[in-house]
Symmetry: C2
Subunit: 403 residues, 2 copies
């Protein structure tokens, strides 16, 4: 097998990529072969959110592959931009965060990545906050950054070009963001930058700025945008078609197991290290393997196998109970945060909160097939329970819905 | 006569200008009438050069009119921008200066304005260097400034729009200049900004920024761009059609006296305070009056009248000698700086440098009709002498040419 198989697996594009040239300046594989030092491989994080899903994990998985090949992952936390927010105050996307919120998000973010990145091998990980350099960037330097690009170059950028054609306003400060991302590459002296295919322009700006500041320009390595569980749109929290790294094993397992057939090969390639030539033929087996493999990665093999078993039982129970006709309980009248025993009573699965407590203590209560033993279990919001099956004993079921 | 005649004389436009409204917010005359404090009237200087010509003097003359009406002239020295130069290094127009050069230029600039502005009445003049605020402008603030405008608004600006249409590159940092000029208005809390008609956009940006920062937006008062001595193009040093404030009285007088008839009324309106209804009818008299009036302003009446006399004599002498056939001496072989006595010898007006010295000492040497008595007079470059008549006694003449 190709020694650099890990580099190309699931990779959408590497640029520049002069295959005809033996010049390592223009070919990443040559650089990897010839470099006498670990390469510095950059990946940026936007800390305005903290929930990561499988889509986000893809460039981090590639970053890990670089780490495993002996290179240095340089993770840039975009805390400066997060703390500015949108200066126009018009965008809800760019909400302004204070440093504590950013810190909390970053902590959560990194925790979720603990089973993706190599945090322990010395010299394999560098975490940098870009406020380090942007807080002290003076006006001269800002002018210098801006002077490296023309308006036409910026307006050609995907995203800007459509908005400009449609005469939607583009505010001037938006031009700073690609330059800031590019300047990050200069500061950390990146050899390679990873990103989704939507990052090509920004990574190319980094190359220009590195050239401007006398550095050898980085390579860009682009990774596909993952399609969500709906099989059509890109995975996104706001579209509800996502699988979060923080989800419990059963939820993660069940969601992966149910993705459309058309996505299965793609998920194997992007989200596992399994040999694609040695996968089972049977499509049910394939989906279960995919779900077990990914769930194992985030929750360990034991929990993954337990989730698999629970899911299988749940399906059996559901089938035996004609789950399509299962009653639903609408949570809209429940005040959250709400204790589970209260929900058992409100939904009439138990005659009172007291019975609810006792059934939990007795081990008869299951949520999505998973036994609940914590009498004081609390849910913060109805979305956490949406579409989940709550069960008491072997005969009483209801599907919770939050709308 | 209208009490605010001084405001409107030679003014191309005042904006906003809601004549129908009695709201002083929208009418500068009302504001002038009703304000209980001196207005702050801003005018910017680009200190990359130091030679001012009559065209530059026009907004300063208007600024003086505001001073005389009791208001405060706020002169902004754009030293920050001058010290940046062009970050692309591509423009020769925006050359980078060090702080000493800027200081020297400013000193010279202000000296040339000494007979235009009122430097002595307390409270009538404030001189501010914009490096004061731009040296400490942080990246957050730069983003805030940029966020107040859209790309389309900026590209609609005269200058940018043509370049964009022609696909000539516009570098992103160029968008900063109007915002910087606008931010100057915020910092000095300007009530009025003066400028040439080419400054309308920048002054309007100042209004927007003042609004953004919670200030009452300034009025813009635009003044015409002066046509140069060629009668067609705007007065400009590089076009050679200018009359500099530093020129000696004779040179200033002669140039003004010779401007095309079509400019005379315009020059009277913009460059003198004479009543336009009481000017002489005879066109020769009119031109002499214009030249005497303006020259008096910069050199005092005595020198102006002397220049007038010399010029008249020179014309007489020329006519009597058929000056059209006067010999020329080309200065291209003379090494500059050069002493006048050497030039007298080199041009064969004198047989030797020694004779040249003696003729100067004896009072026989004239340059453009003006007697030269300084034996050690030195010229730095041939342009200073270009097209000037050098004369020894009453019979020896030569026209010096520098090309």
């Amino acid at each position: 097998m190709d020694h650099f198989h890990w580099l190309h697996r699931g990779t959408a594009e590497i640029f520049p990529n002069q295959n005809n040239s033996n010049n390592s300046e223009e070919n990443l594989v040559n650089l990897l072969k010839n470099s006498d030092r670990p390469l510095r491989v950059k990946l940026g994080i936007d800390p305005t959110g903290s929930d990561i899903h499988l889509g986000h994990s893809i460039p981090f998985r590639k970053l890990r592959a670089f780490q495993d090949a002996g290179h240095t992952a340089v993770v840039i936390i975009g805390d400066f931009t997060a703390q500015i927010g949108d200066p126009t105050g018009k965008s809800e996307v760019r909400k302004q965060l204070n440093s504590k919120q950013v810190e909390k998000n970053v902590e959560s973010y990194l925790e979720q990545l603990s089973s993706v990145l190599d945090f322990s091998t010395p010299g394999r990980l560098e975490i940098r906050y870009n406020s380090e350099w942007f807080n002290k960037l003076d006006f001269h330097k800002v002018q210098e950054l801006l002077s490296t690009m023309t308006v036409s170059q910026m307006l050609a950028k995907e995203g800007f070009s459509e908005r400009y054609k449609k005469e939607n306003p583009i505010f001037l400060h938006e031009f700073l963001y690609p330059l800031m991302q590019g300047y990050d590459s200069v500061v950390v002296n990146a050899d390679v930058e990873l990103g989704g295919t939507d990052q090509k322009f920004n990574i190319a700006v980094g190359r220009d700025l590195q050239r401007h500041f006398g550095q050898k320009p980085q390579f860009g390595l682009l990774l596909p945008i993952l399609t969500g569980t709906d099989g059509t749109q890109k995975m996104s929290k706001s579209l509800g078609n996502y699988i979060g790294l923080k989800e419990d094993a059963l939820s993660m397992y069940s969601k992966i197991e149910k993705i459309p057939d058309t996505l299965v090969q793609n998920y194997f390639e992007l989200l596992t290290n399994l040999d694609l030539n040695e996968l089972p033929k049977d499509s049910r087996e394939l989906q279960k393997l995919l779900a077990t493999e990914i769930t194992s990665h985030y929750h360990g093999e034991e929990k993954a196998l337990s989730a698999k078993k629970t899911a299988e039982n749940l399906v059996k129970n559901r089938n035996s109970l004609l789950t399509d006709t299962i009653t639903e309980f609408n949570l809209s009248n429940v005040v959250f945060p709400a204790k589970l025993f209260y929900i058992l009573s409100a939904s009439k699965l138990c005659v009172s909160s007291g019975e609810g407590r006792r059934q939990i203590q007795g081990g008869s209560v299951r949520l999505e097939g998973e036994k609940i033993l914590d009498v004081n279990l609390v849910f913060d919001n109805p979305e956490q329970l949406d579409n989940k099956v709550l069960q008491v004993g072997k005969t009483k079921f209801t599907r919770l819905v939050s709308r």
